[in-house]
Amino acid sequence: MQLVLERRPERSVLIGIVSPLIAIALTLLTMAVLFAAIGKDPIAALIVYFIDPLTDSYSLQEIAVKATPLVMIAVGLSLCYIANIWNIGAEGQFVVGAVCGSWLAVATNGTGVGHWVLPAMLLLGALGGALYALIPAICRVYFGASEILTSLMLVYVADLGMDYLVRGPWRDPHGLNFPTTADFDAVATVPILIQGGRLHAGAIAAVIAVILAAVLLGRTIMGFEIRLVGAAPRAARFSGFNTDRLILFTFAVSGALAGLAGIIEVAGPIGHLQPGISPGYGFTAIIVAFLGRLNPVGVLVAGLFLALTFIGGEEAQIAMKVPLDLTKVFQGILLFYVLACDSMIIYRIRLLRTVSKPVPAHA
């Protein structure tokens, strides 16, 4: 008797709907067990993690603030991943976008410029991110170098580059020589939506990105091409679609979105450029993209959910002294379950009586 994985004749619609729920349920169960294992009350912990942050305006806003960069980056990444193009360097593109946009803010700081500054910064950020993302894309298209590794290596380069800038040429002259630029002027800051909170216009930008991506995927030729290349690469080639152009396009778009997220984060919640503007958004966004099953709306939901786990994790640290590492474990487990359950959409497990093993052919 053995267990085998077998492809279903067609994708299971039922599992498609139910799978995320099952995955979440399994995750909650595992987390409850883990909480109990470290001596914390499972029910109380789960409530602090998931329910409490939803109960007041402050936490809800914070969830949105945390989710904004994640969703924006993940939307771009999902476009790449659908076509099996692996942009792992979103973190670097985020940083480069932040740097490019900040350049304008630093250059015009204190000079009383008009309101055109902020949109210009955002544009520069998106452009910078797109150009930086094109480097691994070009390496792949023209030199055949693995985009996974080149984009990853460039993350380190971007971080070090920004570090150099804020410690040197862009350092705030009145900042006692600490590595940070001067605070951005009010005109160079992303506006807040609700007074007293931190919810800012970037959240709207993220939602717009989701809508645009959905439209791109669902209603444009390029979107069709992306989906086709992902689902049936040979067929796509035979149809005459140019994979190279697709690689450049998806990298540029995801880079632009990551760069935009970067400058919004810096010109919004942070307010100046400093080392450590990202606690790994570029990598967490990869998780969000997969949790959202590479679907723009799914990414939005997944981003909010993951942000919820971050906020909940912090509250659990305060309220119940639950270690922060547990949040990472939890996020990893969630993705494991989502991936596993999603696999059941395409495959099913069957128990079979053992068939005699075929005799290996000898050369």
């Binding site: 085998v4 994985l5 077998e6 492809r7 470290i38 991943y81 692996w86 390496c139 792949r140 298209v141 030199f143 055949g144 170098a145 693995s146 996974i148 590794l149 080149t150 990853l152 290596m153 460039l154 380190y156 380069v157 070090l160 580059g161 570090d163 150099y164 410690r167 040197g168 990598f283 990869i286 998780i287 997969f290 270690p323 922060l324 590492d325 547990l326 949040t327 990472k328 474990v329 939890f330 996020q331 990893g332 487990i333 993705l335 494991f336 991936l339 596993a340 999603d342 696999s343 059941m344 395409i346 495959y347 093993k357 075929p358 005799v359 290996p360 052919a361």
Partner: protein
């Protein structure tokens, strides 16, 4: 300027520099060797960083509780393997996307190692001892380099040699390569592709775990959360850098180790280059080398195992 150049050359060829570079290169070599086997079998496991860091936590814990480096190393290997088992179950058992699973493994591993290691922070152990052969180790220049290293270094070299022999001189190795190059054909020939891949993945996990354990057992004999600091990702790059060939892997690992040390060691020589640029040298070098070697090969990724990363579900 010529003076500085002389200084740099003297530095690179000094015994101490070579010894330091060896220490820096060993975890990279251990981890990338394992991943090379995994990728040769057709699986892409991006979770090396997660497996390494769990190996570091388990390895230190084991050594601290037992007082023995060997037991610590074994614990590290088992820790890496345990994580690899999760990866295998998902990607081989349930045909899940390998990239996503690998990344999830990294995040999970980093968190898990923090939880495991929390109990051991601040503790210290006796570092792995170095070999000392009566006459040989005292030889000038080559003595300490060849005969004065710790066990991990010798294991890493033996491992690479063993992997080379296995892949190119044995039948099972040939079969493994076949699974990576064309899993459909290998399956048609009757080979248990999934089982072979599973063994490869576990082996890779063990190597990554050992590589991680090296850090708190020999490099710096204490445990601090996050002490792998991205070395797992470098190991992944090295496999590609080496075009999936063991011999080149040694070159790549030692080159990278040396360059990363160089970035630090050159600073006091005051060559006028910003420290950040020095520190970014290894990463830039990797990108440049990746581009150059891929270019000489022609079409996109033609040296990679053709079935790398592709999902395989045996049809019946």
């Amino acid at each position: 300027m010529p003076d500085a150049l002389v200084e740099v050359v003297k530095l690179i060829f000094s015994v101490n520099f070579i010894l330091t570079a060896t220490t820096a290169s060993t975890p990279l070599l251990l981890a990338s060797s394992g991943e090379l086997v995994v990728e040769r079998s057709g699986v892409l496991n991006l979770g090396v960083e997660g497996m390494m860091i769990v190996g570091a936590a388990c390895g230190f814990g084991g050594a601290y509780l037992s007082g023995s480096t060997l037991i610590g190393a074994l614990c590290g290997i088992l820790g890496g393997m345990a994580l690899a088992a999760i990866f295998a179950a998902l990607t081989l058992g349930l045909a899940v996307n390998q990239v996503a699973t690998g990344l999830a493994l990294t995040i999970f591993g980093v968190g898990l190692s923090g939880l495991i290691g929390a109990a051991f922070v601040g503790q210290k152990i006796v570092p792995a001892s170095h070999l000392h052969l009566p006459l040989l180790t005292d030889l000038p220049v080559v003595g300490r380099i060849l005969f004065g290293e710790d066990a991990f270094v010798y294991v890493s070299i033996a491992l690479v040699i063993g992997i080379w022999l296995f892949l190119y001189r044995t039948r099972p190795g040939l079969v493994l390569r076949a699974c990576g190059d064309n899993h459909a054909s290998a399956h048609a020939l009757g080979y248990p592709v999934l089982k072979i891949r599973m063994l490869a993945v576990l082996f890779g996990g063990g190597c990554a775990g050992l590589a991680g354990a090296f850090l708190p057992l020999a490099y710096t004999p204490f445990f601090i959360p996050g002490m792998t600091q991205g070395r797992g990702w470098i190991a992944l790059a090295l496999v590609v850098f080496a075009s999936w060939r063991p011999g080149r892997l040694v070159v790549g690992a030692y080159l990278f180790g040396a360059v990363s040390i160089l970035g630090l060691a050159l600073q006091p020589l005051r060559l006028g280059i910003p420290a950040q640029f020095m520190n970014s040298m290894p990463y830039l070098a990797t990108v440049i080398v990746l581009v150059l070697i891929s270019r000489t090969r022609g079409t996109a990724g033609s040296t990679a195992p053709a079935s790398l990363g592709l999902v395989f579900v045996p049809d019946r």
